[in-house]
Symmetry: D2
Subunit: 346 residues, 4 copies
């Protein structure tokens, strides 16, 4: 019998995308959704595209076998605590369980962690790198959209010791990454025909990237990372351009070296259904609506740098799709179930 | 066993959208695709988003149980002729079998019809209006994207005799409707931040709208129609605003009249899985990637006009999704099979 | 010596566009700007593109020879009243002085008119049609963006008695028309890749269109008008498609008739520097940033309808540029002064 | 008397932008334009927004005092040669005179340089850095759009010896940078809602950046540069994010260090009318249609890197506006003449 699943705070973009994907998922049944706003309305009143899902938006989650939380940070951990106590397994889309260290969480998010005792048991759910732990976890922290693109882009090279631990990640994101809450920077007339860098003092996704990449380095030391996100005038999609100097003498700076890098990446992701290593620079449009992360590693021969381009749909592989991939594993379902759709192009 | 299906000329947007939707269709198997360009390449070389479909682009179609043609008009009828003789049923995405009258075809398309003898047997596949005929047809002419939005918007009122047969259809289309072939009007820098009307002398979709709406009028006479399409800076989606004067005395020009119109529309489309009659003006974004047509009829009380807004995804309900809906019927499959996905929003 | 001018409420899009255009206007000097928000800041702090204009945003207007009000309706008339008493001439960008009838104003805007005694003296400043009155007016009501496109499109035909007084205006607007205030419908992720109709119960610009077109009909009667505005995913620009049945027997329904219509339009606008009658359908991109309204009249021969396409930049000819055109006349400056720039293309 | 100027190959985006800006330039008169395509037509037939400029597109340039060439590379040098011999001064928008070394030109552009004897006399016209030479030059090579953004962003730091000569420039460009020629990558349906990196093997603007930055380093050595351009879905604008490690011990890695960097940049560009150093990250929209380059230098304190964001309008400061700035100098006109317009926002 299909597991009954629920979504806490369905009323943002990550929440509604979860509902979209769960609606056609053959292995589970979406039975309850809550909303910070909109309680009392039908789901289809708030999101007309979800009118086929005949559910009310409730103030509190009904009894479920499995839950997703799409609450903002802080509120999410608070909502997950009682579920945890009740033995309900959860994928948390917020940042609350991503950082292992409660002090670092407080430093970046400006609030004390609401449930530090749960941090050590939570698993960072970038499935490709932590599949075994996700399988048996009770709380899975779903990675941020930027970190997913950056970590998958850099993991193979970093683990193989091919690059120096001094990295630049220049990311370009569609505006849905900023969520459904209003703001002048996301007002159409301001964001359209415009591009800008933001969070130059440090984006909250930076410690997450450093923490996870640090686990892959030989000595477990965090690499130095400059991470700079940009807003570009499109709705969905992230493309990250990653730069790091190659360790001298490991890879020849020629076409053969490029081939070796690509083989190494292909080998690293050989069995991964949602990571594709490609020979040509990828485009975010190739991932729209799908759970794919496409990666193109190459070498800048003039400077001896590894350059890796990665892209994904920030609301799917960067949020809801990744969350379902984690859920599938946690429930013992095939990892790709409900995520087989290819990108909507053009 | 799943029927083997093929796509003739997969290399345009309608063709690639067919491939996307057929890839996850549980009732058929896509086994062969052809291309006017690109023959010899893998499908994934031309369309990276379709890399999971491991098929070569062939010069000629392999043996199939069912075929779609996404060739341009003229070429399509020529390619369908041998399939027809071989007993292969076909949905034709081109315009070749939409007009019942070969002379009218020649007038609008500028070429003699390549297979006029097949016209009388072909069925205009706007499934909602011609379900019975589609079921047993050998050749189904898939409707144009604009006509689908216009005919579904006007059919209930016209059939009920509520409006005068003098209609204006003002349509706004995303630019994928113009296809994948290059043209200055579709060059990003020209089309972006721009809107324009085109085909003011008469668009080829006009006779199709008039022909099908004519079948619904009491005396079978074609209504007078001014149809004006516009290009707007988005990729997918059509929104049609339809205007017609109400026959006097049939519907009161007040809120009650609006309710009656909406009930009439709801009744007309009661059992239709892909038509939704709504109380608020719909938006194309509510249909992106889905096979839905959303319709909002209302009354302009000051002038006594019926105003109907309809919208759809021009590549799904306006092309590939409609074609699969027809195929499902023709193959005796559930009509919604493979088309259950909701819109990708935002 | 250059006249000293001021802008009341510079902090919206119409206000900032006024500042942009006045900055390079050789005949006047912008000396004071006020803001409902932002008082105390420098203009360049709020609008970095205006950093070259070294002015503070003040709570109240300094002493000026001439003023623009870009306040919302209601507040605008209140702010203009003391200026009027002080003998300062004003162009009002709000709707407060557009409707001649205080009762009609109250019906559409939901508030009592703050200064009904000034209505009879105010002039509707669509310069092309009311040049003489604008010249000597004390208060000029700057037309709405939609009405400018609709009235200029229909005036020649209506005045010549060529069309029946039963008109449809289907307008497509960029999203800056909705202003700088936040709203979910104008949130980038919602408005991008989307098109929708709105105000189906009647848009506030409708009475203005009817009032001004009514002045042009032989008997001064208002035509019946269905006006339907649409939001499309671009920042600036309005394109209006206008439909009306030709009075029978006046214009032949053939190519010659089209030529005659175009000649009539050309004759009507012969001396107008900011109206261009063209032989091909125009595009909003041809007007971006300029004070031009481009008009293409044609005949739908099949139905005997006049179809007129007009387009303009909603913030220039539809707001700030029109206001400066009026100011130029009122100050005795050349009408085109400061408005000579051609469109920014592409 | 105003100098008579001409444009060779007006039919691309750089050419038409030159015409737009020259039309309102009070110090020169545009008297002749040529086109590789379109000869025989009126300028307004090809570019409706330029209909006010009443000039034919001619096969050959009429007699002029000054010329711009907007031809593609190779053809441009060939067309300039006879002008040079005739003593006509020229700003060349193509790449033909940007690289000092004919062999390097051949390496990057794949053709032998058509006029290598002129290279040593040509001046790289990034006015801010080469004002004196531009003043007296006969041939000025107008910089590429990407190099303008990169060189202006890095020049102050590099000249002051604050950064190591190992630089990453990650640039995001609107699609007009690819020109008016058609290509699938610039087809609206492909480029919209999409972002991609390109030219990963080395973009032709790279040697130009390295050459000009090399002139600023203490020993005149070229820095190692990784330059990666990206296409983003907007028409105009370039934003470059530049990264370089600070030389240790020169600038403290704290807020005070940031202030010092900004002061140094402000000092460097103190008298420049078209470069603005700002305290907040700039946005391309702040430059649309204007000749401004906005620069924001900051320090990534965690990694000790200088990060500089620069932005401009690729067709103005990145092409036509820069060319006119150079022309003004060459003709002894005020450098800002005809370029005073502020950005078109929003």
């Amino acid at each position: 019998m299909a597991a009954k699943v629920g979504i806490i705070n369905v009323t943002g973009y990550a929440g509604s995308e979860l509902a979209r994907l769960l609606h056609t998922h053959p292995g589970v049944k979406l039975v309850s959704v809550t909303g910070r706003s909109g309680a009392g309305q039908r789901l289809g009143d708030i999101f007309p595209h979800l009118a086929d899902i005949d559910l009310p938006v409730e103030p509190d989650l009904a009894s479920v076998d499995f839950a997703f939380s799409a609450l903002p940070h802080g509120a999410s951990a608070e909502a997950i605590l009682p579920l945890f106590r009740a033995g309900v397994r959860v994928v948390d889309i917020s940042a609350d369980f991503r950082l292992n260290d409660a002090a670092e969480y407080q430093q970046w998010y400006g609030v004390e962690h609401p449930a530090p005792q749960l941090l050590s048991g939570a698993v960072y759910g970038l499935t490709e790198l932590t599949r075994q732990q996700v399988h048996s976890a009770t709380i899975v922290a779903n990675p941020g959209c930027y970190p997913t693109s950056a970590i998958l882009a850099l993991a193979p090279a970093l683990k193989a010791g091919l690059i120096q631990p001094d990295i630049i990640v220049d990311s370009k994101s569609g505006i849905s990454g900023a969520g459904r809450s209003l703001g002048l920077a996301y007002h159409f007339s301001e964001a359209n025909e415009n591009v800008s860098a933001y969070a130059l003092d440090g984006h909250r996704h930076l410690p997450e990237i450093a923490q996870e990449l640090g686990k892959l380095t030989p000595e477990g030391q965090r690499p130095a990372i400059t991470f700079l996100p940009h807003l570009i005038p499109m709705t969905r999609g992230i493309l990250s351009s990653c730069y790091a100097r190659l360790v001298e003498g490991r890879i020849p700076l020629n076409e053969q070296g490029r081939q070796r890098i690509r083989e190494l990446y292909r080998e690293f992701y050989r069995s991964e259904p949602f990571v594709r290593v490609v020979d040509k620079p990828p485009q975010t449009k190739q991932t729209l609506g799908s759970n794919l992360c496409i990666i193109h590693p190459t070498i800048d021969m003039r400077t001896g740098r590894l350059v890796v381009i990665s892209c994904l749909d920030n609301l799917v592989k960067g949020a809801a799709g990744q969350a379902i991939q984690n859920m599938n594993l946690m429930l013992g379902l095939p990892e790709t179930m409900g995520l087989e759709g290819v990108a909507v192009y053009p």
